[in-house]
């Protein structure tokens, strides 16, 4: 299960957490951090801030491909199942003079199963990529961090980052419009 199990920071402490009051402050701060060349860091916000991926320099998500694969598998499997079950493989019944493989009649189920595959792909694919559920996370230790789901915006830089240096990074975050920067234990 190693692949699936969410991995927590290995360093002795988690890292640094900076707080911002507006999407704008966060946006500009993210640009700085990105330009500073950090890789193991994240922005936190109560809603997806528009275009923030640019500011963070994120690559496009792979979700759509997972969905496509899921949909194809669902539809393909569905059609195959129906063909097998209603012909020699299963029980070839003579139904209303229709052929054993009456494909037009099989479309609805094929379609529905395709959708199901896609839906599972997107939902569980998203869970997998985001490593959810992750009920325990060091950031939950921070009191301030509670308002991330309300009206505050945060940047967290993890100690595992190669460029991470407690003092320098602290300095970098202070230089942004952060309302506060705090040190997060790896509890």
């Amino acid at each position: 299960m190693a692949g699936i199990v969410p991995d927590l920071p290995r360093a002795d402490h988690f890292g640094l957490l900076a707080e911002y009051n507006t999407p704008g402050e966060l946006y500009r701060a993210c640009e700085k951090v990105r330009d500073a060349g950090y890789s193991v860091w994240d922005a936190h916000c109560p809603f997806p801030v528009h275009n923030l991926h640019k500011a963070m320099g994120l690559k496009p998500s792979v979700i759509p491909r997972i969905v496509f694969a899921g949909a194809m598998m669902g539809a393909g499997g569905g059609l195959l199942m129906q063909w097998w079950m209603s012909s020699e493989g299963g029980y070839p019944l003579i139904i209303a003079g229709k052929p054993l493989f009456s494909w037009p009649a099989f479309i609805p189920v094929t379609f529905a199963l395709g959708i199901l595959g896609g839906v599972f792909g997107s939902v569980f694919g998203m869970f997998a990529l985001n490593q959810l559920p992750m009920y325990h996370h060091p950031l939950f230790g921070s009191k301030r961090f509670e308002s991330v789901t309300d009206d505050k915006f945060f940047i967290s830089i993890v100690a595992d980052d190669p460029k991470y240096d407690r003092e320098k990074t602290m300095q970098l975050l202070k230089e942004t419009e952060s309302s506060s920067v705090e040190f997060v234990e790896n509890n």
Binding site: M1, I4, V5, P6, L8, Y91, P92, L93, I94, P133, M134, Y135, H136, F140, G141, S142, K143, F145, E146, N187
Partner: protein
């Protein structure tokens, strides 16, 4: 805020979900497999009121099945013989045995012996012995080596799919009509590689019904 959940929760939650899905899928398999007659019915071998041994009669003495089950070629039921049939011989043979005593008393009282039924089909499945015998399906094919059973035991699942297997491809289970009651048939080299279509004694090729009303009326 303090952490709501401990560290281990991250792992256990995942483990639980994965295992649950596993259990769910295996349940379907378990029900469809281990709850099928193949596992529930085969080997059913109830105590009989009279310890009649097919091993002795059909096996060692080599009596033909049809001496007792004499309606098998004309009717749906291969009727259990009337007590009188037993008495044909046992008026003189082993008259003192306690088991025979049961039979004689029943016969004298004109009461039937309450045999316990071994091969039970659902009431909505209509099986006919005569047509199977006529097609050259051996007794042993469905009932097993009765000639080796001290007490009769269910040999085949008698499930619908089991019936269908043969109805869809009967030839492996066909034999010369003369050999229908031959328990050992197949073990003897004489009939090795018997081909029903080549058998000159067959007036027609066997086409068992595969449609619903073939068995369900």
């Amino acid at each position: 805020m303090a952490q709501i959940f401990p560290k281990w929760s991250n792992y256990t939650v995942l483990a639980i979900t994965v295992k649950l899905t596993g259990v769910l899928f295996s349940l379907i398999f378990i029900f469809s497999w281990w709850f099928s007659p193949k596992y529930t019915d085969v080997g059913f071998s109830p105590e009989q009121p009279v310890a009649f041994s097919h091993k002795l009669h059909a096996g060692e003495m080599g009596m033909d099945c049809r001496y007792c089950h004499n309606t098998v070629e004309q009717a749906a039921h291969a009727a259990i013989p009337p007590t009188a049939t037993c008495m044909n011989c046992h008026k003189v043979v082993k008259t003192e045995s306690p088991e025979i005593l049961k039979v004689r008393t029943a016969h004298e009282a004109g009461k039937p012996i309450e045999w316990v039924r071994v091969h039970i089909l659902p009431d909505y499945a209509f099986f006919d012995h005569s047509v199977h015998v006529a097609a050259g399906v051996g007794c042993a094919t469905c009932h097993g080596r009765v000639d080796q059973m001290k007490r009769v035991t269910q040999h085949a699942p008698l499930s619908m799919s089991w019936c269908l297997d043969c109805h869809r491809d009967p030839s492996p289970n066909l034999r010369p009509k003369t050999e229908v009651t031959n328990m050992g048939w197949g073990t003897e080299p004489a009939f090795a590689g018997y081909n029903p279509t080549a058998d000159p004694h067959r007036t027609r090729d066997v086409q068992p019904p595969k449609h619903c009303s073939g068995c369900h009326r």
